[in-house]
Structures are given as C-alpha cells and as structure tokens.
Symmetry: C2
Subunit: 327 residues, 2 copies
C-alpha cells in the first residue's frame, strides 16, 4: 500500500479544489493512504477517508526558499516533514512553485550523482493521446552539459517506467536540428551524448517540432525550457480566446459553434494540460509532484495520479540505479 | 528615391513568389528602384519594371557562412556586393537564414559599438493590430548582458521609428517577472538597465505574457528567443490544424464553419505572420530584411515594405547615433 502526503493549501482555487481532487483520486484508488495537511476545518469532506494533519499557516505564492524554511507551521513544511518522518511514498502540493521546489530540494536532498533537480512535465502532441516529457521547464536558471545529461537519464527512466515507452526517443532542445547548432552547453551535451552512445538519443530538436509527436523526451536547460513552457501556454491561451470570440460574434457563428462543437471538444482534449496532472521534481530523494496553481479538482486528482504511478513504478530507485550505472 | 536590392532566389516557393512580391510592392511604391538579382530567365515578369542582374547560382538552404562566402556567383553574394557597390538603401532576401545572416554580417560589418547583430521580428499580440518587436530571435547562440542592452537600444529605436510607438515599453524575456529572476545574463542586464534608467524599461516579462500587448519591445538572448519564436509558431500551427480538423469532421461541422467563417477570418488576421514581412537583421551597416522561407508573394511584398520603411526612417543612422549617445 502506498502513502501519499498532500499539502492541501496554497492553490489559486483553495482547499475546496484540492479536497475534491483527493476524493476523486480515492474513488479510483481506494487502497491508497492519503495524509492531507492543511487547515483542518477546511478538510471536513475528507474526514474518515484520509489521515488529517492540522497546519495553520499558508506559504504565500511568491515566497522564497528562506521564507518557507522558516515557516515551520505552514502546511507546506509540515507536509514535507511528515513525508520524511513517516517514510511516505510521495509528496503532492499545489502551492507556489518556487517555494515548494526549494523547500522540497533542501529537505529531501538531491540523489547522489544529481547536481541539480529538474522540473518535468508531459506536453500534448499533434498525435492524439501521445505526450512528450520535457525537462527542465524551470527549476534552474542555467545548466551545465553534465546536468543536461543527468536530465536526459532521468527523463528517459520516467518515459520508460511511467509513460511506458519501451525505447524513448531522446532529444536536446536547440535552435537548429543539426548537431553543431545550439548554445555552448547544448553543443557540448550533444557531443558527449553522441560519444557515450546515450540510449535512444536522436540529436537536437527545434522548438517548432517539439510537439509533433516524434520525441518522447526533450531535454533543455531550465531557462529556455521555461520560455518554451510559458510561450506555448501563452499562445494556446490567446488562440483559445480568439476561437471563443469567433464563435460569439453573432447568432450565425453561435449556431456554427453548436454544429462544430464535437470537433472542438476533441481539440480541447488534445490540448488539455489537465490530464497531465502537473509537474514533477526529478532528482530529489522522493516523488515530488507540483499540481498546477490553477488546479480544479479534476486536474489535481491527476497530480495525485502521477505521484501514485511514480511511487508504484519505483522511479526514484530506478533513477538512483540509472545514474550510478551508465555514467 | 530609395533603392532596394533583392535576392530573388532560394525561397521555398521559388522566384515566382518573390517576383510576385516585388510587383505587389511596386504597385504600392512605384517610385522605388528595385535591383532584382537571380536567374534572369525566371524574372521575365519584372522586365522594364526593375533593374535585373543575372546570377546563376543558388545558395543551398542549409549552407554555412564559409560555403556562401565562396559562392561568388550566387544570387545572395551578388545581391550583397551590389548593395555595397551601388550604395543602395536596403537588402531583402528569402534564402537560407543562417547563410544570409552570416554573409550580410561579414560583408556589411557591424555598426561601431555593436558586438553582435540581432535578428528581430514583430509578433502578433492579443490586442488587434498591435505588434510587439522581439529580438534576438536566433542570430546568436549566447549573449552577454552588454549585448542584451545593445539589443534593447536597437529595438527601442525600431519601435519608435518604424512602429511609431512614441514611448516603447521595453522588457527583458525571463523565467519570472521579478527583477531577481532569470539567467545570469538576464539578471545582470536587468540590474544594469535599472541602474542606467534605460528609457521605457519596465523589467522582466514571462513568455506567457509576451504577446498580451503590454510590451512594445522584448529583449532576449538568441537561444531563448529562437525557442520562443519556434515554440509559439509550432503551437499556433498545431492549433490551426486542429481547428481545420474540427470543422472538417462531418457535414454539420462544415456548415458550422460557413456560419462562423467571418470570425475565424478575423482570428487569422490577428495571428497572421505574413503582414509582419519577415525578420530584420539589426546591428549591421545597412538595412537587411530576411523574408520568411515559405513566403508567398503577399508575404514577400511585406518584407520589402519593412525594408522600405526602415530605409525611409533612416533607422541605421539612428541606431548609430543611439549607440554612441546614451551608453
């Protein structure tokens, strides 16, 4: 039986959304033990279904590492400490990313051989149902070639064990598909990965082709990865707003929407980030999943789902092995 | 009277598209002199309307700097040399970006005080008709803080003189809106721009907000800028394909398209990269515009339009002044 510790506080939609997410998850996995941490009076719907731990403080969305480490009674710190004390299998939170990542990294410590933890997320692709795993999407401001190779190793293990891709195609995000293209770090990482015959390494990929469904794992430094994540998110949001506007134009266009609705529902499912559940912090000594800040219950239940799958697949042990073997 | 030199060869759609573009441009600006360089037998439609220079070789799309410099009889090199010899006002090309940028930079030389040329393009924003100028979108693999500040100066001058924004809002692309967020180069550039009270500098902007219409100029290193350009382009293409698919689903959805068509036409216009004309190379001693590789006649005519406007506005002289004054 797996045990998941959940920081219930700090998301944009409050504890109502996270509690709904926990209940949804439990309806799918009734055998899992959930330890829910937060203001106990807001978690009444979970009574009898989870272990509840009361924590009165909420870490502000923009808190830095030092601030959160001092907030010992915050739901975030209590959740992290509970994870450690109870030797639980995974941590899920929905609060501020920066604080959550720093606190988790400082308390759980990096896996031996990992210089930097990476934030990873699956992205939708043009191939229906297929997702591509991209890391680092924002845990770091700069990365060395050897850090990029560690990310590639961790991403590959995740793709195999959780996404169930037997031989993942691994790429480096670059400004050109040719091996010689890229920032100095990317060029050097490409060279080293060619030299070591990194399994499944296919070379560089341009951002334009990242979501076409060819790649299973895309490795990038955290700065460019964050630009990719937020740039694509921004354009998708902008286009969604334009689609809504186009359909709302007049009576005819509204009727047009009714007629084309099913097709657009399919499109929404393809582009849906909600079933990706959130982002994972890879490289620390436990499973850590960060739900989207704007998670609703459905979306948050998938953050728990990802954490559960990672715990089931023993991803952390596999990463530890993977990093010590084909170095 | 302005003189524009045009490399007619090397675009995906051949000289037919570029010739169409030249004719379209001339219908709007009959007083402009065009020197068209390429295989003369393919440029019959321009006879009597432009000066034609025969050049038999075409630089391959993926040619490197050294390769193109050796191709003296290529339309690209002949066009660049003609620009220099004739003291023409601007150069427009549609061939391979890498080769075009390297050859133009090597032959035209950098403006004094500019360490690196930058590739710049206007992007559509959520505000109808408003575009944001983003640079560098791919001329460089890495940039120092002082190079980023030079880009900011050049982008600001372009925004004022060509986009006619009197007080442009200038931002640095980063992984967080706070001043302390970013890669080491971005952090330092932010610090320096605050210190020097860079005119219109508003701080960092996240990729998510880059196209919301607040910013007039966004400065980025070439590697992250290229990831932004191609990432947003990739998602926009993917969503356009999904929209087409949604409407083509069945008879009802096709009817739905007919009813909502006008709204989607408006959306297409908002997202249209064609009226942005292409990308400009800023920092060299003349106006250099690179049309999109997949330019049709309409789109290529706007690449000429941008070159014309830049020449009219004396952007190069203004950049020279701007870089020597508020250093």
């Amino acid at each position: 039986m797996k045990t998941l510790v959940v920081d219930m506080m700090g998301s944009d939609n409050g504890s109502k959304a996270t509690a709904e997410g926990v209940l949804l998850f439990l309806s799918r996995h009734p055998e899992t033990k959930i330890i829910a941490v937060g203001k106990i009076e807001e978690l009444k719907s979970l009574e009898g279904k989870c272990e509840l731990i009361d924590a009165r403080d909420i870490v502000p969305m923009e808190a830095g590492a030092m601030e959160v480490m001092r907030m010992r009674n915050s739901s975030m710190m209590v959740a992290i400490n509970t994870l450690i004390e109870r030797k639980a299998d995974a941590l899920v939170g929905a609060g501020g990313t920066g604080a959550f990542l720093s606190a988790a990294t400082l308390k759980l410590k990096l896996i031996e051989g990992v210089e930097r933890a990476a934030l990873m997320s699956p992205f939708p692709t043009a191939i229906k149902g297929k997702k591509v795993t991209i890391l680092d999407i924002g845990a770091n401001n700069e990365n060395t070639p050897s850090q990029l190779i560690q990310f590639a190793k961790m991403g590959r293990i995740y793709s195999q064990q959780v996404m169930k891709v037997s031989e993942p195609h691994v790429y480096l995000l670059s400004n050109g598909a040719e091996d010689k293209k890229g920032s100095p770090e990317v060029k050097e990482a490409n060279h080293l990965m060619r030299e070591m015959n990194f399994p499944g390494f296919k070379g560089n990929i341009e951002a334009r082709d990242a979501l076409d469904g060819e790649a299973d794992v895309i490795v990038t430094g955290g700065f460019a990865g964050n630009v990719f994540l937020k740039g694509t998110e921004g354009v998708a949001t902008m286009m969604n707003n334009l689609i809504k506007k186009a359909f709302k134009r007049n009576l005819f266009s509204k009727l047009g929407y009714l007629l084309a609705k099913k097709g657009f529902k399919e499109m929404k499912e393809t582009m849906d980030y909600k079933t990706t559940g959130g982002a994972m912090l890879l490289g620390v000594n436990n499973v850590v999943v960060k739900g989207h800040g704007s998670s609703d219950g459905f979306s948050f239940s998938y953050a728990l789902e990802v954490a559960y799958k990672m715990a089931e697949a023993n991803v952390i042990s596999l990463i530890k092995e993977g990093l010590s073997t084909h170095e």
